[in-house]
Amino acid sequence: MNAYHPSISPRRGLAVLAMMFCLLPIPALAALKIDITQGNVEPLPIAVLDFDGEGSVGQDLATVIVADLERSGLFRPVDRDAFIERNIGVNVRPRFSDWRVINALALVTGRAVQHSDGRLLVEFRLWDVVAEEQMAGLQFFTTPENWRRIAHLVADAIYERLTGETGYFDTRLVYVSESGPKNNRVKKLAIMDQDGFAQSELTRGNALALTPRFSPTAQEITYLSFYRNKPRVYLLNIETGQQEVVGDFPGMTFAPRFSPDGQKIIMSLERNGNSNIYTMDLRTRETRRLTSSLAIDTAPCFAPDGSRIVFESDRMGSQQLYVMEADGSNVRRISYGEGRYATPVWSPRGDLIAFTKTLNGRFLIGVMRTDGSGERILTEGYHNEGPAWSPNGRVIAFFREGRGENQGPALWTVDVTGYNERPLSTPGWASDPAWSPLIR
C-alpha cells in the first residue's frame, strides 16, 4: 500500500483505489447514518471495592480513592451497600452482570499486602463493566505510612484512564492562612494535600506573606513577604525551609511567578508609582525588563510553552488583560468585556486564561481563550479572587470572602465547565491558593 500517496496522479490514484477495494471481502447493505449531537452530561458511575488486605488499610485506600474521584465531579461512586459481589480477588475476573445490575460502568478491585521487606504493596485493576475487559492494572510499593499518597496515585491512574486527562490528586496546595481581626491579620504560608489532609505551616507569621506560587518543576515556591515592612519577592524551599530574596532591586518587587521551566521568576518592580515587568534568571541572576510603560503593568504569567506572557495593565485607562511575546514584543490587549480584569493565569493545558473580573462591585472568576474570545464566568459573588489552575488545567482553586466584619476568606474549587463548585476545608481562614505540580 505504500504506492498510495496524495501526490500521485488521479488516474493512478484511481487504479490504486480500485486495487485496495479488490482486497476487501464481499458486501451487503448500506449503513444508515445518524448524527448524535445531544447527550446527558453526567458523572460516570464507578464502583470501588474495598481493597483486600490486613487490618483497615484496604478500606482506607478505597475511601480515599472514592473521595478523590467523587470530588472531581466526573465520577459518581456507587454506594457500597448496593454491591452484590463483595469479595473478588484482584486476580479474578469479576462477574460483570452483578455490576451492571447496580448500574456501575467501571469497577476497581485491588489489594494491599505487606511485603517481606516491610514495604506496602498496593495493586489494583480497573474494569470496564460494559465491555467486560480490564482497562488498567498497576501496582505500587511504598512505606506503609505513605498509603494516602498511593491512594491518590491510584485515583490519578483511574481518572487518567477514564477521562484521557492527567490526574491531579497526588498534588498539594500552598495558601495564605489568615487569623486575627480584619485590620490586623496575621498571614502565614501553609501547605496541605489537595484533599485537605496533612496540613502544616511554612512560615511563622512574623512577616506578612502573600501570593505564593508553586514552581512547576520543584518543591519550591515564590511569594511576596513584607519583611521589615518592605515587600519583596522570596523563594522558599518547602522541604528544607530555606529562603532567599529574588534579586536585589532598588524598588518594591511583587506578583512573582515561575517560568514553565522553573528557571526564571517573572514579577513586577515598582518605582515612583509605576510598575513594569521583569524576569530574573535564577541561575545567572540576570534580570531583564520586559515592559516600559508609564502605567501599572503587573500580574504577569507565562504560557505553558514559555512563548508568551499574559499580564494586567491600566495603560489604556482601565485595568485590562494584555498578551505579549516572551521578549516583551508585540503587546496586544485581549480583554474587551465590561468591567475590570485582573490576575490572569494561563492554563497549564494552554487553551484558556483564568482571571478575576470586577463588575458592578462584584468579583467574578472567569476564563477566556488566549485571544480573549469565548469569555465565560465560572463563579460570582461579593468577593472571589486569586484563581489557580490544577496542574491538568481542569479545576480552578480560588478564594471567596464574605461581607461581614468577622468574616474571613475560604478556599473553593470549581470545574472549568463552571459546575462542581466546592469548598476546600482548611483549619482556619485561607486565601490565595497555589496548586503544586504532580508530586512525582
Binding site: 445531544q38 480490564q134 525551609g241
Partner: protein, 267 residues
C-alpha cells in the same frame, strides 16, 4: 480529436469511481463489521496481558500493564541560604514531602509470553495497520454521491427503498434513546477532535449483533479521543436493545453513528 478522447477518458474514470464508491462503500462497511470482534482495535499492553492472562491461568492470572518503573529520588538539594535577609521560616513540615516511593510493574513470567489466543506481537507502540481503513473511508466521504440531508441522516444510493427508510420521527426516537446513555466529555480540551464515528449491526430485536467499531480510529492514540471513544462504546452497549420499527429492519440493520459533542460543549 485529442480533447474528446480526454473527455471520454475522464467520463469513463468518473463513472468508474462513482460505481466503485457507490457499490463498494457499503460492502466495505459491512465487511468490516463482520470481521470485528474486539471493540477497539488498538492493542494496548493491558489488553495483551489480559488476553494472555485468560489464555494461561484464568483464575491465577497475574499479568500486568508494564508501567514504567520509576524510582522516587530524594528531594533536590536546597538552594543554599545566602546573606540576604530572611523572613520568618517555620521548620519544614513533619511529613516528608517527597517520600520514597517506587512504582513497579510485575515482571512478566516467561510462561506468559507463550500461547496467546491470537497471533499478536508485543507492541511497544501502536501498530501501524497495513491498510488504513480510516483513510479509505475518508476518501469515500469526499465523493459526491452521498447525500446528507439537513436532518443529519444520509443514505448511500444503494440504500433501501423509500418505504423502508426511517422517518424523521423514527430517527429522532433513536436519538432520544442514545441521548439518555451518552455522557459527552464535558470540559475536555478541543472538543472538535472528539467526534467519534462508530459502526454497528443490529438484530431485528434491536440488540447489537456486530460491533460497535470505531471508524475514525486513527485518532485512538490520543488519550482524550480514546476516552471519548470508549464512552461512546459504553453508551451504545448500555443502551441496547434499541426500539426500532421491525418492518424497516433492512434500513437500520447496519448503522453508522457520528457522536459530535461540539454543540453541547460549546466548542
Amino acid at each position: 480529436m485529442p480533447v474528446s478522447s480526454n473527455l471520454l477518458a475522464s467520463i469513463f474514470l468518473h463513472v468508474s469511481l462513482a460505481l466503485l464508491v457507490g457499490l463498494w462503500s457499503p460492502m466495505l462497511n459491512d465487511a468490516r463489521l463482520n470481521d470485528q470482534s474486539l471493540p477497539i482495535e488498538i492493542i494496548t499492553i493491558d489488553q495483551f496481558t489480559k488476553l494472555v492472562e485468560e489464555a494461561t491461568m484464568p483464575d491465577e492470572a497475574d499479568a500486568r500493564q508494564e508501567a514504567p518503573a520509576f524510582e522516587r529520588t530524594t528531594a533536590p538539594s536546597a538552594v543554599q541560604p545566602d546573606t540576604m535577609p530572611l523572613p520568618d521560616a517555620a521548620p519544614p513540615p513533619d511529613k516528608a514531602p517527597t517520600p520514597e516511593l517506587t512504582q513497579e510493574a510485575v515482571p512478566e513470567e516467561p510462561r506468559f509470553r507463550v500461547a496467546s489466543p491470537v497471533p499478536l506481537a508485543r507492541p511497544q507502540v501502536k501498530p501501524k495497520p497495513l491498510l488504513d481503513i480510516g483513510r479509505v473511508q475518508a476518501l469515500l466521504n469526499k465523493t459526491p454521491d452521498q447525500e446528507v440531508s439537513d436532518s443529519g441522516v444520509s443514505k448511500s444510493e444503494a440504500g433501501p427503498s423509500a418505504a423502508e427508510r426511517l422517518t424523521l420521527n423514527e430517527v429522532d426516537a433513536f436519538r432520544a434513546q442514545m441521548r439518555r446513555c451518552w455522557s459527552p466529555p464535558a470540559g475536555a480540551k478541543q472538543a472538535e477532535n472528539l467526534i467519534v464515528q462508530v459502526r454497528l449491526s443490529l438484530t431485528p430485536g434491536g440488540a447489537i449483533s456486530a460491533g460497535p467499531v470505531v471508524v475514525n480510529r486513527a485518532l485512538l492514540g490520543d488519550p482524550f479521543f480514546r476516552a471519548a471513544a470508549e464512552s461512546v462504546l459504553r453508551a451504545i452497549r448500555r443502551c441496547q436493545p434499541f426500539t426500532m420499527p421491525t418492518e424497516k429492519y433492512a434500513s437500520w440493520r447496519n448503522i453508522e453513528l457520528t457522536f459530535d459533542p461540539r454543540k453541547m460543549l460549546g466548542g
